[in-house]
Symmetry: C2
């Protein structure tokens, strides 16, 4: 890996590094761009080694630390682990290995759920790996909340197939949520989207959840947590002209650049241009 | 890796090594057990590094060769590459690296399709990676047949969710097959299951394909190809008593042994007992 500080060198605008095993973290980047347009961004998608879900803690931690160092070497002054599995399994290890502040997606999600709930009953949906780690349950119970975690393994492939407003996806979501909002959690009033693919399904999920349920999108709550950390980090050093400039976006992907562009645009919601292929040993 | 020839040492019963990136190859093992009960089997599921679909040719070849050598070191006298992606991307490399005969799943599938079709029009369904390689189209065109390949990325996760007789899966299959059996292939008379997960969906796929369509299950055709190669290899050296013994099955998995047992039983159709964890570098 060669160091390249060009992103951070332009100005005192901060560069935020965003890391995910693939495309899902682009929903977090989207929320960051809306909330913090005065920063530049470097996004690392480890698309050749996804999914992290079936890998050991050791392996996920090693991959995530490699990506963190890569983003630091490209000027990132803060790191956002925009991946629930990497956050659940390796946030401590990444934080210990990084030289800049690190924000994961789980604590902000739990914090937002705590603010949203009135009856302390929360349903969290996520991938098999995230649910098995019980990272959300621990974070929610630490705030005195009751949590039910429900793995929804079909939702990621449905999003990746582009079926975000499809009757099949609606049926699948009804089945999963019907099982989650049952028994002791029938009256749960908050649904946490514990996977960075799920924000694309938010309109559909609103339709299939009971009317009284608030949906917590951890992409948005993570962006708010980053904004607050950033204010401590670079308080008003950016002048007005620099603030007005459009964010510079740089993307790194370990698998096909073409595929990253094509699939990534769905998640980010606008065209992806500057993608560079990165070859990390598997 | 320590050599362990215990499987092959018991008798002159041959030991067949079966390799897949995960569980799907167990449908091939199931077909082998039905057709060749006079052999012993060693199955290697590279579950920690699945799916191979998004990986480069180089990486898939390296992984597959490692698995092939592992199975040889455990006494395999023949190797079955029970994985469409590995066959499509790396059969040549595995064959060159192995010291025993190697059988893939694609040639037997193409051969069976050629025998089944009356109008030379074939539809092949498979994963994104298998379809992108066009390995089936090349094998079918080499036999003078016309092929349409259709990627069905949701079918593997649906099978892994256990929804093999579910209305959602039936709708998804109707959508995919409707797109495949269209235009110039409306009257195609043969459907090749180009993914080792799909044999579990055979009853459902029969219901949603036009009545005149034959379904070619590459697990079955691969088992027939293995039986024929085996006869050349060990012609009648096995005595009657050895033939009557039940096959010895040994399983190796690179990820959780518990998960392999649980998911694997669905594919194999009977309990999985002797699973050993294998730690290969990622």
């Amino acid at each position: 890996m060669s160091a390249d500080h060009s992103l951070g060198a332009r100005s005192r605008r901060p560069t935020i590094g965003v890391f995910d095993s693939g495309f899902g973290g682009l929903t977090v980047l989207k929320a960051l761009l809306e909330l913090i347009p005065g920063a530049d961004y470097a996004y690392f998608g480890d698309t050749a080694r996804l999914p992290y879900g079936s890998k050991s803690v050791e392996t996920v931690a090693r991959y995530a630390v490699e990506a963190a160092h890569y983003l630091e070497s490209h000027g990132a002054q803060m790191l956002v682990i925009a991946c629930n599995t990497a956050t659940a399994l390796a946030l401590d290890r990444i934080t210990a290995a990084a030289h800049v502040p690190v924000v994961g997606v789980i604590e902000p999600g739990a914090e937002a759920a705590a603010a949203a709930t009135k009856n302390q009953k929360i349903v969290v949906i996520g991938t098999e790996a995230t649910v098995s780690s019980h990272a959300y349950r621990k974070a929610l119970e630490a705030r005195g909340l009751h949590a039910r975690e429900k793995a929804c393994p079909l939702l990621v492939p449905l999003v990746e197939e582009g079926w975000v407003e499809h009757s099949v996806t609606e049926q699948v979501a009804r089945i999963y949520l019907g099982e989650a909002f049952a028994d002791g959690f029938r009256e749960a009033d908050t649904l946490v989207l514990g996977c960075t693919h799920y924000p694309l399904l938010k309109p559909l999920l609103h339709r299939v959840t009971p009317g009284h349920v608030s949906i917590v999108d951890s992409a948005e709550s993570t962006a708010r947590a980053v904004a607050s950390r950033l204010q401590q980090l670079v308080p008003a050093t950016v002048d007005a002209e620099e603030r007005r400039a459009l964010p510079r976006l740089k993307f790194f992907a370990t698998d096909s650049v073409e595929k990253f562009r094509r699939l990534g645009e769905r998640f980010l919601g606008h065209p992806i241009e500057d993608v560079q292929h990165v070859d990390l040993k598997e």
